[in-house]
């Protein structure tokens, strides 16, 4: 028998409403007259570059220094699937950009190897969500798998967002308990399933 859902009717954001790294510069035009824009308003107006070495014009800024920021962390975890809805944590607003904090900011790190803490505060869709711990575990796993070793990960429930946030926070903050939880095959499978949608 199918288990009753904790929250049968959550609010869902569409993908276009999620925070994302917007392209720099004016938006591309879409009107009927924009078809030959690429030819008459080219991105680089000098089409005759003859040597293979990239000229200064080619530098579109993508390769410049871009230290890890909250948006990067958001992109890593917002695509995790919810365990009971066919939506991502970003769409359900369980993960929110303003609730991701990096300290100290990576741009200000004294050396690349110095320690840095990522704090992610989760907001369950309802305050008695029984899956909050699993979601927290998945977020933790995802970040540990994708962030460099000098990043310390701290996943918590946002204050007041969960009836038992103290207990859940305690579980998520305890290394031993996290490791023990991942020994459990069922839990591990569930987490793997949730992480499948992460690119």
């Amino acid at each position: 028998m199918e288990r009753d859902l904790d929250n049968a009717n959550p609010t869902i954001l569409s993908v276009s409403q999620l925070p994302s790294r917007r392209r720099k510069g004016p938006a591309a035009r879409h009107g009927p007259d924009s078809r030959c824009d690429a030819l008459v308003y080219p991105k680089h107006h000098w089409p005759f570059a003859s040597s293979s070495s990239p000229s200064s014009d080619d530098d579109d800024g993508d390769d410049a220094d871009e230290p890890v920021d909250a948006q990067d962390v958001y992109d890593l975890i917002s695509t995790i699937s919810d365990p009971e809805h066919p939506h991502t944590l970003g769409q359900l607003s369980v993960v929110r950009l303003p609730d991701i904090h990096l300290s100290p900011s990576p741009a200000e790190l004294p050396s690349p190897d110095s320690l840095l803490t990522v704090l992610v505060e989760l907001t369950p869709t309802i305050n008695h969500c029984s899956l909050a711990t699993v979601i927290g575990l998945a977020v933790r796993c995802r970040l540990e798998q994708t962030l460099p070793p000098n990043y310390r990960v701290d996943v918590r429930m946002k204050d007041g967002s969960h009836a038992q946030d103290d207990q859940v926070n305690k579980q998520l903050g305890d290394k031993e308990r996290v490791a023990a939880a991942l020994e459990n095959d069922t839990l591990q499978r569930m987490v793997d399933k949730m992480l499948e949608t992460c690119a």
Partner: protein, 1145 residues
Amino acid sequence: MAQFKQWALEYVLSDDEPVQLDIARKAAKEIESSRASSTVVGGWAASVQQWMTPAHADDDQMDDGDEGGSGDIIARAKVLRLIGFFGSMFSYDHKAGITASAKALRQLYSMKAFKPDMGVKILDDVCKIKDDFRLQTAATRLELYELFLSLVQDPAVASELRHKYGPSCGFVLDLLQVCQSERDPRNLMVWFKILALLLTDYDPTPEVTDEVFKVFSAYFPISLRTSATPIGITAEDLKEAVRSCFSAHQRVASLAFPFLIQKLDQGDAVTVSVKVDILKSIKACIEQYDNPQASVVPYIEKIWNSLKYEVRNGEVKETIDATLEVLRAIARKLDGTKTHKLDASSLKAYVDLVSRDCQPDLSNPTYTKQAGLLYMTVVTANIRAYALYNASFIDTIRQNLRQPKSPVHTRDLILLLNSLLKTRTELFRDRKQGHADDENTLREEIRSHLDTLFHDVYLPVWTSKSKESTSDERDVLKQVMQGLALLVSQQILQSDETPALLCPASICSEICSLLTLTLTRSLTLSSNDNDADDTTLEDEAVSALRTIAMNYTDGYTEFADRATAEIKKRDWNNPSEYSLNALKELLSRFSFIGCSEIPSNIATEPPSQKQFSPLQHFITLTASLLELFPLSSQPSSTSAAALANATVISSLHASIIWFRDACETKYGKEALGSQTDGSQNWLDEFRQLPEDWLSQLCQGSGVVLPALEESDPKVYAEFLKLGLFTVRYLYRSAAAGPRATWSERALVQLSQMTALVVQSLDEKLQVACNLADQAVNLFLAPDEKAAQPEAGVDEGILTLGILQGLWPGALAGLYKPGGEAQRLMCDTSKLGPSPSRESDIRAAIGAILANKYKGGPSTSDPDSIVMKAVLDFWATYLTTSTAPSSPTDSTFPAYNTIAMNVLSAAAARQDKHLLPLIPTLHAAAASPHPAGETVASSLGLLLTPNPLLTAANHATVKRFHKQWTYAHLAKPLLPLAQPTPSGDKLLATRYRIAVLAVVGNCPLAVYQDDLPALIKLLVTALSDREGIDLDETAAGQVSAALGVLVEILAHEPEAVRGYIREIVGGATKVYRDCSPASYVSPSGAAGCRGLALQVLGAVAGRFEERHVLAYAPATQRMLAVACGDPARKVREVARRARAGWAKIG
């Protein structure tokens, strides 16, 4: 034995005497040649025996020896007897014989001696099988169905059947009884065909019709179970077959319509596909039945009452569409055919019925759209219905628009009005295809309600909504814009049969200015007042104005005047970014509106002052833009002003692209060649014309163009002529006028635009206009040219524009020994130290000239002297520059780039004169002189695709030129580049650099055969930069090696299995070495790191775990750190690689 039986059967069935004789002969021979003759004779006797009924066994009528005048009668009797024999099979329970008998009967039917009355007998006989028919196999039954079908559709048999049975059609009832429970799809297909034939050809009594109807209607709705073994028949075929029974003849109308409607009215029990099937069947009946007064009219009300809810409350698009099709079919049927119009009363009654139900719904926002759709479908089904009812329909919409319930209601009502106008356009366009009366009806149409649409409907809505900016209101405005465009394009038939615009010019002009205002607004507003994010409204206005400009041609002139006036009002000496964007938008739309289609010549009231020309919009636009240029005469002060100037040139370029596309769509690509004789020198004509010819044309004075209709393909040639005039004018202004107005960006746009115009001309025309010379003279007379100072880059850009578009044949004049081409290809006049704008331009010009060179037999240069001279020149240059004794020259890289581009263009057409040069290149690359390293690392340029050498530019790029170049240039170096402890280290290093530079620009297929030798070089390249002086060379070799490794790992991972340790180690080292502070440029370093991680990631996925396990811990640690890389793109690659390696161990 079996043979005899077969022969006997063939003998009996054969109609042909020689064939029979042949069979007899074969049998005789068989008997003669056999040893145990008695058995054989017995076998023969047995085989013949079965064909002789006891009573007639001795009858010599079977004997073919009897020949005489009674042959026909004899044959007939024979056939009759055979029919008797086989027919009798069906009376007894003779299971094994049925198939054979059915086959035999079909054979007999096709014989010459077969007579229609025999068909009647066959049917009689076969029907005796009765219920046993069901017990036969499907194949046997199919045989019988085919037999029935042949008989029933044979006109002679049919008339015999009618004669014998009369309208009671007794045989039909027998047939129905025999075949009634068929289920095999293949058989059903034939059976339905028979049933349809029975209804159409046999005139059955109502009782029989009823029986037939019962049989096929029992199958409705038919479906087909999906089967593992496809039989070549789809469910759709079966549906079609049943449908053709329903629509076979109007005599089933009284049964079919109630039956189908009753099926439809079952409500939710009916699935969408069944519903569509029913609707299609009803439509087929309506369309196929004759005498609609009797067959369709009585059921219309019933059909309407049942169908209207499918649209009114329906949600599924398929059923809605199918329903509307039915309603439209009724209206068309009631109108009559192309040759015979029916009385209007039934059509009127039908439309009245529909409008009675729909009109009240139009005031209810929930149903407006659906009710309108229903009403409109019926009203616009044909010209007569339209003429009778459009006024009242529009009136209803108008009344509802006065008291709209919501913006959505307004939008839906406007949408309906627009759809009506759109359909009117279609009816008008197709007016000649229907009955002759239709055109008269259109001519006499009452139009007062259409005339007032703008002031009564569209304008009030526009005025009330244009202030607001909610998305619903914007939707309404978009609909209004579409409606305005449709309104302007409405045409009427004048008394002399020519079309004219419905709206008077004053209204068209008012509409134009309304829409123009929407587009010029962004220029007049300040950036704070304009929310530029959503341009859909403006885009809609653009589409509307485009439609208007194509029909009401004066509208474009009005738009142009308004737009240019607005632009001129502004000061462009230091425009803001917002103003620049607004200018770009406006000019881009300006080009699109006028030039993306060829305008039509439609009369207006009062008639236009201007004589129509398909090119008039292009002329207006070009003249306006040339008048605007330059927007700022001192652009050097700020780059924004230069951008404004360049935008004008970009828009001219865009207009050429649009109009050329429009010409090619309308007249085809070949239109030009057939319209020009190639002997005209347009440039000579241009010299006679004033410089402001285009603005004179625009005002209708001076030398005018030949009068052309829009359908005349000559338009294309005339357009290119105007294009070339524009190009010439601008070239002269750029080359001889004040330099300040021309920024590099504007010049490049001009050059690209020129390339487009020139490449569109055919070779003869290019030669006739002597365009090759203009590449050097830039459309200036020799004395004007001499007065100009040399202006390197600018002039080069202009030259390049013309050269790019020329056909090789048209360039021949330049390739004289010591001529212009040779001078341009071997230009070593002063240059800066590293590749710069100057060297870029020279390289591009050199490449084009080297590629378009045509030497060899049957050309003016049979011994390819020019090309040889050019190649020799560069060979000597490279040799001298890399000679150990020569001084280090900082300008060498720039010249080297030019040389490589020239060689590369020759390599693209696989010029064999390049081959003797290759040892020189190898030697230059190997030279210990520092310039040698530059040569080695730049050899990749020989294979880099040059964006200028395209088919559109008439360049020659052979398909296998990469293979050719690789085989001659890089392959011989592979053994020499291998690192050996004893060999010359520098030599090997240089060769390795050269090989990697080449291979890095080739697809895997080119070097696939040399992988073993190549991989060693790749591995060395990752870790060893000994002997490399320049950082760029080292970075280039590393990134080339990584790129090639990525390719190999993706497609041929087995080839590198022995080198996993080296590759993992090498890639890790590259990642560490290419830190942002390393020897490589920051962007190059990030690229290298990304590639290195890509290689590592590929290694994890491509090999069995045991091969990579040893490197897992170190690599995992390294990848974990790489996830914090400063570059975002690299972090992404690192994460993917890390996920791959995480699975190992």
